[in-house]
Amino acid sequence: MIAEIVQLIVNGVMAGTVLAVPAIGLTAMYAVLRFPNFSVASHATVGAFAGYMANVQFGLPIVPSVAIAFAVAGVFGVATDEVVLKPLRPAGYMATAVASVALTIALENVVRFAFGNDQRGYDLPIFRDWRLGEIRIGPQQVENLAIAAAVMTALFLFLAFTRTGKAMRAVADNPTLAGIKGINAVVVARLVSFVGMGLAGLGGMLLGLDTTIDPLTGFRAILSIFAAAVVGGLGSIPGAVIGALTIGVGEELCLLFLSPDYRSAVGFMAILLVLTLRPRGILGERAY
């Protein structure tokens, strides 16, 4: 029993670290652009398929493939934001949020048109699980965890120490003041779309590495991604990490008494619970 729980917690931490990547993307975009961007789902799918092309068609190893997933999803993110969402932002968050749902279905169908509905798997070397006593750990999961951790570290360094990173945080904090200080909000918005959707795409690929991918890969993860961001506090990047770990571990621990199919319902329950008890989330700002 104890071993089982420890195993689930280990799995949960690894799943949560991977989940943190798209959750950070979502929350960063929310912090700057101020609307819940549901097209995170389709960008995760786009990234997963871009990585698939790089990995399977061009035979690249995982790390360069992941970089390509990031870049392609990021470019898609900037392009769709320029064309679809940015012109709607003055009309308010509602029109923009609705358009982002339409956008996610549109992009998902572009992927479906190109690749079909089949399940596809990445080209991965197969390893036997490592065993530490009774705990089993998959080398692929460890690689995913390492990639996710490296990406997050890079992001934190970027936000903390570079001029551009500081500009992004300034706009998120107080757009008017940032404007007075001469920070170009349009450029920052593009940058955050690129990084945010890039992270979504990278996260989509990492989520797919464990299993298979299809056009709904991103959408299936969206409840968990949003749950991570809301539990941590929408708009807070450290919050997204804590939220993702909470959701990851929570989803695994629920396997003790729920069927695995309810995994993503756990995210929804977590959203309801947090919004009822502490709407701002663990590290967020006021939610009303």
């Binding site: 609307f35 549901f38 279905i105 169908n109 048109f113 199919d261």
Partner: protein
């Protein structure tokens, strides 16, 4: 062919009910609801299960479907009422996904992803399928007419005016002494009840429901219907609903023209048309075809010195 046209008209009416329901929250009160598919599903499952397993009359099933949908709408609204609208977007979308997950997994109750078949319809089996189609068309037309009347009454009533006020400025409405949260929750319940009724009717008409039917795509279809028809305008909702059903059906006939495309690709193209259509209308004609007529308030006073001067 007649049967196909009648069936299309029935679906048009069911879409119209959903759109009218969405109009109450989104059009009138300016509250977002991306979980429409969830309320639609709740109504469908409640009515189907009651009539199939407990053999209650269909009319009771319809009412029960609407009531349970309204109750779930109330819960969703209560949890998010104090929060900013963007949280409501997340919670409602999550709600519809949660409903889908439950419907797919509680196999003892819902038969899982296989869905429920053999849902009774009024006089189904006792009359010819043609007559059944016509009868059901009559039922949904009456349902749309009744809901339409109620929605128009609602729009013009003091309740409706408060909803408009909430949409335009929540804070001012609160200052005017209106209990904003109570109004929002009530509007949400009314809207969810309409969607639940639509879902129940859908199940009794097609005799088959499955979790797949309640994907976010249907939410987008209805949002498109409302935006295209004109937010806040009940007649616009009707026009928009039939327009969307027309587009959905028309693209079905275009499919054979696109040679060399697989089924999946054609299906993808149709979904693409709907979602891109919504984006285009939101951008270029956000008021829709039938823009809401808003009461004009004269700022310059025609009758000077009415009193006190």
């Amino acid at each position: 062919m007649e049967n196909y046209l009648i069936a299309t008209a029935v679906f048009g009416c069911i879409y119209a009910l959903l759109t009218l329901g969405l109009n109450v929250v989104w059009g009138m009160a300016g509250i977002i609801n991306l979980g429409l598919a969830g309320f639609f599903a709740v109504g469908a499952y409640v009515s189907a299960l009651l009539t199939l397993k407990l053999h209650v009359p269909i009319a009771v099933g319809l009412v029960a479907g609407a009531i349970v949908a309204a109750a779930s709408g109330t819960v969703v609204a209560l949890i998010t009422a104090r929060l900013r609208g963007d949280y409501l977007a997340i919670v409602t979308l999550g709600f519809s996904e949660a409903v889908r997950i439950i419907a797919s997994n509680e196999i003892w109750l819902t038969n899982g992803t296989d869905g429920i078949s053999g849902i009774p319809g009024p006089y189904r089996g006792q009359i010819t399928p043609e007559l059944f189609n016509l009868l059901f068309l009559g039922i949904v037309v009456v349902a749309v007419a009744v809901v339409m009347c109620l929605a128009e009454r609602l729009r013009a009533s003091p309740f409706g005016r408060v909803l408009h006020a909430i949409r335009d400025d929540e804070q001012v409405t609160a200052v005017a002494g209106k209990h904003v949260i109570a109004f929002k929750v009530k509007a949400f319940a009314v809207s969810a009840a309409t969607m639940g009724l639509a879902g129940a009717l859908y199940g009794h008409y097609t005799s088959y429901i499955a979790p797949d039917i309640y994907s976010p795509l249907i939410t987008i279809n209805i949002v498109l219907a409302l935006v295209a028809g004109g937010r806040g305008n009940n007649y616009g909702s009707l026009v928009g609903a039939f327009l969307v059903v027309f587009v959905l059906e028309a693209t079905r006939f275009l499919a054979p023209l696109a040679k060399g495309l697989s089924h999946v690709q054609v299906a993808a193209l149709r979904e693409l048309i709907i979602s891109v259509g919504l984006i285009v209308i939101l951008r270029y004609r956000p008021t829709g075809l039938l823009a809401e007529r808003r009461p004009r308030i004269r700022l310059t006073d025609d009758k000077p010195a009415a009193a006190g001067s």
